[in-house]
Amino acid sequence: MAFLEISHLQKFYGPTHVVQDFNLDVEKGEFVSFLGPSGCGKTTTLRMVAGFETPTSGSIRIAGKDVVNLRPNQRNIGMVFQAYALFPNLTVAQNVAFGLKVAGRPRAEIAERVREMLGIIHLPELGGRYPFQLSGGQQQRVALARALAVRPQLLLLDEPLSALDAKIRISLRQEIRAIQRKLGITTIYVTHDQEEALSMSDRIVVMNAGVAEQVGDPFTIYNRPATRFVAGFVGTLNALEAVVTDPARGALTIDGQAVVLGRPIEAASGATIGVAIRPETLALGQRPEADGVLRGNVRDVQFLGSVLRVRLALDRQVVALDSFNTTALRPPAVGDPLEVSFATADMLVSAE
């Protein structure tokens, strides 16, 4: 039995079906991200777990106990909000102590726990400050400490890094993950940032239009997307049109250039289907291990520091390629004829 079991969860706002038959089992200590565009139902699902929204139907069980009918303040769930939501009238230490005070813990224990939590978030000296005297990153760390101080059975984070600037976002996501690992707390993390989800999670739930499209570990989600939406939302993708010439062998043409996938395709001969390939799986020039080749002319070249991004014009369609920058690399010039190769196993067929 999983620690958190969400089964057949549904939520309607009037006629709008915002969460559709959502099912998920989360093991104790696991870090699961809900990833999706805004309005996909990820925050609503999280808020139903927290108790701020009531499900239209379905059940949420934490440690075997159905919590749907419990009020938010009875669930013992720690929550971190995008807007920090520190109490402006209380100092950092009082903020962290708030939940413990509510629980009626003895004063000495509260003081000790506050000290411990401020240590964990590396802000031991700031207990006497008020929230407005802290930076955004510091405020969010305090919010994390406040949520964790009461030793909740579940930690929920609702886009906690969205309001912060890029550098702090990256350092703080490592810190959050480290704290989560150290305390072994079961965590659900809502984000629309795929990089956050991929880098932090044990498992990712990719959501779209109220439906969980795929649940899996980051590696699988990225490399073996189950649906076209997942493939397009997680990572960048070259979406191409191809005409099937021999479904049994997986032979097709992309702008007239033949590619043989070597696996059967579920489409009739002559049908136009969608295929996709990630920019980083394409390589410049011919490679021995690559069994697929596309030829075209260089449309443009973007130098992004660590990565060189080349856009190659086929006949009608354009393919983007990402190559790691090395000093040996000579960037192609615009208009040059260019050959790119790839492993046909990396090419996704949208019907799959």
């Binding site: 009238n89 209380l90 708030f98």
Partner: protein
């Protein structure tokens, strides 16, 4: 540019004369009780009058009770409307503005008709009952100021998220109200409170028609019978009102946890 400045200063000067001249004249007149010299005799007489002390004490007590009642009524209402009933905000706002539209005399006559000695709830039958009625009347009069002040205060904080944060930490409604919401709108509540105080101290209509020994009717009585003392009283009343306004400014600086953009 230069001409514009001249006009601005002129407008300011006209405004100052318009407001200050009557005040200065009143103050000057209040000092002339003793023939030939300026003295504070009129103030001495007023302050020593046991009726002044009694009515002023009564009105201060009523003002404090009105403030308390206003806080208990308005803070949870404004909070709840912001949190759960945002669509009802215009309606509630309209209701709270009604006392500005309906004159106090209409309200008090309504009260007297509804709560007279031959009604189901004969509040006017006893002094205590009438005091309660007056308190309710004052609360109504102060409602527009109190509600607006508190609502503005609530606008400055993220009510919904703070509430949810407190809930997720196990807090119930009472604790959320007293530990989170009220302290964060305290400046707003206090500015509403001082306005309420100023209104109640000078209120005449309700107190007179309900026949309660308040400061307003006392001022009127004195004004009808004496020459210099009413002027002194008027200056005192002004001073109290201004002190209230000054206190509003002061308390905003007491708050440690906010830095007000000024």
């Amino acid at each position: 540019m230069r001409l514009q400045r001249v006009w601005a200063w002129l407008a300011l000067a006209v405004g100052m004369v318009y407001f200050l001249l009557p005040l200065i004249a009143t103050f000057e007149f209040s000092l002339r009780m003793r023939r030939g010299v300026y003295s504070f005799d009129a103030y001495r007489v007023v302050l020593a009058d046991p009726n002044f002390q009694a009515t002023f004490g009564y009105s201060v007590a009523m003002a404090l009770l009105t403030i308390l009642m206003g806080i208990v009524l308005v803070v949870p209402t404004a909070y709840w409307v912001r949190l759960k009933l945002p669509r009802w905000r215009p309606v509630v706002e309209f209701v709270t503005l009604l006392p500005l539209v309906i004159p106090a005399i209409v309200i008090v006559f309504g009260y007297i008709r509804l709560y007279n000695t031959s009604s189901i709830l004969p509040l006017t039958g006893t002094a205590m009952g009438t005091n309660l009625l007056l308190l309710l009347g004052y609360t109504t009069l102060a409602l527009p100021y109190m509600y607006r002040a508190v609502d503005t205060g609530l606008r400055a904080i993220d009510v919904a998220t703070l509430t949810e944060a407190a809930q997720s930490l196990g807090a119930g409604w009472l604790r959320i109200m007293t530990r989170i919401i009220l302290p964060n709108v305290l400046v707003a509540v206090l500015s509403g409170a001082f306005l309420t105080f100023a209104i109640v101290i000078g209120e005449f209509t309700m107190a007179a028609l309900l026949n309660r020994p308040a400061f307003g009717p006392y001022m009127q009585l004195l004004g009808a019978n004496r020459a210099y003392e009413p002027a002194a009283l008027a200056v005192i009343a002004f001073a109290i009102t201004w002190a209230c306004m000054g206190l509003i400014q002061l308390v905003t600086r007491f708050q440690k946890h906010t830095h007000l953009p000024r």
